[in-house]
């Protein structure tokens, strides 16, 4: 391997490399006199710029005759070149990793080699299956890609959007109208997908059945209301026995006619046995009345439920 620092001329035709889409985030604000040189390599026919093309173009448009570059003059293999690119752009976000994977395929790196030698350098598991999964990110609408990068989503989380692959436009509307975060959106998609698989219906039908599909076209001023509504709809679909248990317990509590000053709390997942009872007693008589209510058979019925 041989790398030199060189002034590349901005005059004449520019041939970009397979890495030309790197990096995903193109922030010009850091580009100043102290910015690091761009990366380029010597191909058999010409010098190719690896990435940061926008910086090169900006300098070109500003009339600068040359730009500083790290020029990779010799590498032992394409693999070594890719490793250098990874090193140059580290730490990479998920979209950078997807772009790099795409570039590696474009350069003809065989999939098994890509899986075994490139993916670990990208801090990904060395599994061929992951190649297609990470490439899927490139199919996402730009707004979702930005969210993934901004929120630093894990690959596992980001891949949840695959579950709604045919409905990404709906996903975008959902996020934009309901003003909910990317993580919650992923959670919603996962739930709809799981329920659709369970009931053997397609994603859209299930989202419609759950009452979530049309929500994407509702404009919520306060996203907390949207979130509450979504949670309720998901819980109703996913936890039928828990919901029923909650309804039964509430009915039993209603039948016990407890005073308003008495608050009963329970584990919503019903794992913890029993209830927490809190009440305020004004005086001895009030206390007596409250205790009598608690001793009543109607109240004791709740322990059949929890």
């Amino acid at each position: 391997m041989k790398i030199t620092v060189k002034e590349l001329t901005t005059v004449g035709p520019t041939i970009h490399s397979s890495f030309a889409t790197l990096p995903y985030q193109r922030d010009n604000s850091t580009r100043g006199s102290l910015s690091r040189p761009i990366l380029a390599y010597q191909s058999p026919s010409c010098i190719k710029i690896v990435g940061d093309i926008h910086c090169f173009v900006a300098d070109q448009e500003a009339g600068k005759p040359t730009v500083p570059a790290y020029l990779i003059q010799e590498t032992e293999s394409t693999l070594e070149l890719i490793q250098l690119v990874i090193e140059y752009y580290s730490p990479m976000n998920l979209m950078d990793k997807a772009l790099l994977t795409h570039a590696a395929i474009d350069l003809g790196v065989p999939r098994p080699m890509l899986a075994e030698q490139i993916l670990p350098a990208l801090e990904l598991a060395p599994r061929e299956k992951l190649i297609d999964q990470i490439l899927f990110l490139l199919k996402l609408p730009p707004s979702l890609q930005s969210f993934i990068v901004d929120k630093d989503l894990s690959l596992k989380r980001a891949l949840i959007f695959q579950r709604a692959e045919g409905h990404l436009e709906w996903v975008e509307r959902f996020i934009s109208n309901l003003k909910i975060g990317i993580n919650m959106t992923a959670e919603i998609i996962q739930n709809v997908w799981e329920m659709s698989k369970n009931d053997e219906v397609d994603f859209k039908t299930k989202a419609q059945e759950m009452g979530l599909w049309e929500m994407a076209d509702t404009d919520y001023e306060d996203n907390r209301l949207a979130i509450m509504e979504i949670r309720e709809k998901i819980n109703q679909a996913r936890f039928p026995s828990l919901n029923q248990a909650g309804v039964d317990l509430s009915k039993t509590l209603d039948a016990a006619q407890l005073p308003d000053s008495m608050k009963i709390k329970w584990d919503p997942y019903f794992e913890q046995q029993g209830v927490q009872i809190a009440f305020h007693a004004r005086d001895e008589e009030d206390l007596e009345q409250s205790l009598n209510k608690l001793k009543s058979p109607a109240f004791k019925n709740i322990f059949k439920h929890i």
Binding site: K197, N198, L242, Q244, A245, F270, E271
Partner: protein, 396 residues
């Protein structure tokens, strides 16, 4: 059930002269045999290989350290029965969707400890230290007890060995119908052949290489005829659309074949797994629906059905067992709280030691002659585990 096809037998030089090794080689003429000194580094390389359906390696090696361990479920959060396990074989060819083994032992190598004499002598020595207790020891924790038996004929070693031990029952737990080797053994009533059971609809969907229900029932019929005690494990109960009908149907079918008087014990448990297993199941078994059921994170951190649903399932199974099998059946919950016992059965063991004693009492009453004297509670309350180290699956 199809026999798992072994492609390669790797023999650690240290156990090359063991009979078990010769059996594996004799019974698998198609397998390539490699004999070498095996180091820990060699094993690590083997275990790193990705599991594929076409490849099954058997590593025959030497067990170092202790063999008999406590069942890993044994702790104080839930009621457990003080069961002990021998892990002679690690890895299972049956590939059940819900099985935690696939994720902890996700490699194509099945490790078999071939120094049988050492393993069995350890059992004998350890149970001799507490002669007043009656132990239950199983081989079906890290593998199906009988799935490899046509190759290993290991049942011949253990069944007849346990027949000579005064204060222990051996449990061979299986989803197979590989019982041929058991039929002519002199077991002396000291072996329980137990089956994990589920309705055929679940076997088809989730227990991919297991014997069908019909095959299991036929196997039960045969071992019962040969005087073996029988066990049933309704574990895991799996929620599915027709579960309210299919579990009672299953129980009816079982008791059409098996006489309740021959049933040593019956366990009930429901699906439970560490949360991280979900994605792996979805990836490995994309057609399975079990991960889409109503599941919550339980107090032990594992995913489970919510208690109201568990209770409904348990009551259905428990009531059907009583209906078809009678009041004398010894039924217990595996890894469930005292509350669940109370709400389903109307009582609960006071402690794990109490449950252990109840097992012994039930066996004493049901199988006269199995124990010379009535088990005393104090011997169980003061009992100590045969080995304090728990078996090898974390958190299970």
């Amino acid at each position: 059930m199809k026999e798992p096809k072994i492609t390669r037998i790797i023999v650690d030089q240290k156990v090359a002269d063991q009979e078990l090794v010769q059996r594996y080689i004799k019974n698998n003429p198609q397998a390539k045999v490699v004999q070498q000194d095996i180091t820990e580094a060699d094993k690590e390389i083997m275990f790193k290989q990705e599991a594929t359906p076409a490849k099954r390696d058997i590593l025959l090696t030497e067990k170092q350290g202790h063999t008999v361990k406590q069942c890993p479920g044994t702790d104080r959060t839930y009621r457990c029965c003080n069961y002990h396990v021998i892990n002679q074989t690690s890895n299972c060819p049956i590939d059940c969707t819900y099985c935690i083994l696939q994720f902890y032992l996700n490699n194509p190598v099945t490790t078999v400890y071939a120094n049988t004499d050492k393993l069995l002598t350890e059992v004998k020595d350890k149970i001799a230290t507490q002669p007043k207790r009656f132990f239950r020891i199983g081989t079906g924790e890290l593998s199906d007890s009988l799935a490899f038996d046509s190759s290993s004929e290991y049942s011949k070693d253990v069944v007849e060995y346990f027949a000579t031990l005064p204060n222990v029952l051996l449990e061979l737990k299986t989803k197979s119908n590989r019982i041929e080797n058991l039929l002519d053994l002199d077991h002396q009533g000291h072996t329980v052949i137990s089956w994990s059971v589920n309705p055929q609809v679940i076997i088809d969907a989730e227990e991919h290489k297991a014997a069908s229900l019909y095959e299991r029932l036929e196997a039960m019929r045969l071992v019962q005829e040969r005087g073996y005690k029988i066990g049933f494990h309704f574990d895991p109960l799996l929620f599915h659309e027709e579960w309210k009908q299919s579990y009672p149907d299953l129980i009816r079918q079982l008791f059409e074949v098996v006489d309740p008087k021959n049933v040593a014990w019956i366990s009930i448990g429901s699906l439970r797994f560490p949360p991280e297993m979900k994605d792996k199941v979805l990836e490995k078994f994309p057609k399975s629906k079990i991960m889409f059921a109503e599941l919550i994170r339980g107090m032990d951190g594992k995913m489970r059905y919510p208690k109201p649903l568990r209770l409904e399932m348990y009551r259905t199974v428990y009531n059907s067992l009583r209906y078809y099998g009678g009041d004398d059946l010894f039924i217990y919950f595996c890894m469930e709280s005292a509350e669940i016992w109370e709400r389903v059965m109307g009582w609960s063991p006071e402690s794990n030691e109490h449950l252990d004693h109840l097992f012994a009492m039930s066996l004493y009453k049901q199988f006269p002659g199995l124990m010379p004297t009535e088990p005393q509670r104090i011997d169980y309350d003061n009992g100590i585990p045969l080995h304090h180290e728990k078996a090898d699956i974390p958190g299970f």
